[in-house]
């Protein structure tokens, strides 16, 4: 119980006092409270991880109960059952032991930098989208296994932080994609140690999280939210699928053709004379 309360306290204090300088040097430096309000998704996601771990460890806050691990973790034994699809979501929110939880909380705390750039909707969308799809990593293992942890979603956020830059050309995107994967391979697979006899780091899960994060960043527009409010996302494109689901190059091509249509449509043509001023 003491560790549980201490973890919540340290998490809250750290996020409250983590106040990076704004990107724009001339912008006003925000106060602590103002800065903290910008990272609400990170804060509540962390609190949810801590609370879930506390409940699922039967109040010991030491190690996850094995029954819960099997029920909520994603596995490669009973795939494609209705419950398996639920597990692809739930496995993102449970942690095996205290060290696992603390490591992921530290990682999440650093990634709050990304939430400041894109706001909560996109931040959580990337986390859930990549966390769920990273479940495919279990097919890379021949032995029966159960996987759990938020790290795949967090790797996706890390990749998105580096490559979620507007007006990035396809060439730059591909270069960045390659570079991030290369760095990941160096950092992860170079030291492939077993943490414990029965536990192993799911590097394939991390890698697939990273890749899906990068795919999300390129595929979905900057304003895409988990619950979209704008109808533009669902407007049908000339390629037959909603605009929100178009990859950037196709979206650019469609925007260009729409613009051309507008400027050359004879019935809509308006002559504007240059102003003498």
């Amino acid at each position: 119980m003491t560790l549980f309360l201490l973890t919540i306290l340290v998490w809250t204090i750290t996020l409250f006092f983590l106040r990076p300088s704004p990107n724009d040097l001339q912008a006003k430096i925000p106060g602590y409270w103002e800065s903290f309000k910008n990272i609400q998704a990170t804060f509540w996601l962390g609190i949810f991880f801590i609370a879930t771990f506390f409940v699922l460890s039967n109040g010991t806050f030491d190690e996850l109960n094995e029954n819960w691990f099997v029920i909520l973790g994603v596995n490669n034994l009973y795939t494609f059952t209705p419950w398996w699809f639920v597990q692809t979501i739930t496995h993102n929110f449970i942690h095996l032991n205290l060290l696992h939880l603390w490591t992921n909380l530290s990682f999440l705390g650093i990634l709050s930098l990304y939430e400041r750039n894109v706001k909560a909707g996109r931040f959580l969308s990337i986390f859930i989208f990549s966390g769920v799809l990273s479940s495919i990593s279990i097919f890379f293992y021949s032995n029966p296994m159960v996987s759990a942890g938020a790290s795949a979603g967090l790797f996706a956020l890390a990749a998105a932080y580096l490559l979620d830059i507007p007006k990035l050309t396809s060439k730059e995107y591909l270069l960045g994609f390659g570079m991030i994967i290369f760095l990941f391979l160096i950092f992860s697979f170079a030291e492939n140690k077993k943490v414990l006899d029965s536990f192993e780091i799911d590097n394939w899960g991390h890698l697939s999280g990273l890749i899906f994060g990068l795919i999300f960043v390129n595929s979905f527009q900057e304003k895409f939210l988990l619950i979209p409010r704008g109808r533009k996302i669902f407007r049908k494109s000339e390629f037959g699928i909603p605009r929100g689901f178009l990859p950037r190059p196709l979206l650019r091509a469609e925007n260009q053709s729409r613009q051309n249509e507008k400027s050359f449509s004879p019935e809509k043509q308006v002559f504007v004379f240059p102003s003498p001023y």
């Binding site: 300088s21 040097l25 830059i165 990035l168």
Partner: protein, 133 residues
């Protein structure tokens, strides 16, 4: 980008009318060392390149993104720079700036390098030292 391209494409278009360019140079920003103890070598993802244009009115700071594209631009007239200190170095010289809004920036101005690199020349260095406090 060569220094001629930087000058014509990035630095000169931002100058105001009647503003005289003293010089421009490339500088780098590295995050504070305590980040290394927290996230290890990943801290170098925070490294950024700046193109700094020095004029008679103030300093033009062009920050590049991780992928080398101009990301943000700021102009600080000299009265808005409350403290400026140019140190000594062999390859790079530390340039500390404190702005009137409380912001701080420590850059490493490039002193040596290949021909195409925009380096801090003696004329700009002397000008900056005259403005240093």
């Amino acid at each position: 980008m060569t220094k001629e391209q930087i000058k014509s494409d990035i630095v000169l278009p931002r100058l105001n009318q009647g503003e005289e360019l003293i010089g421009f140079f490339q500088a780098s920003y590295t995050p504070p060392i305590w980040w290394f103890f927290l996230i290890g070598p990943l801290m170098f993802f925070g490294t950024r390149i700046y193109y700094v244009g020095v004029t008679n009115n103030g300093m033009h700071l062009h920050k590049l993104s991780l992928w080398g594209k101009p990301e943000t631009y700021n102009f600080f007239p000299y009265p808005e720079i409350s403290k400026m200190k140019l140190g000594k170095g062999f390859l790079q010289a530390p340039l500390q700036l404190v702005f009137s809004n409380g912001g701080k920036l420590t850059l490493n101005a490039q002193l040596k390098g290949v021909e195409k690199l925009a380096k801090l020349d003696d004329k700009t260095k002397e000008f900056l030292l005259s403005k240093s406090s």
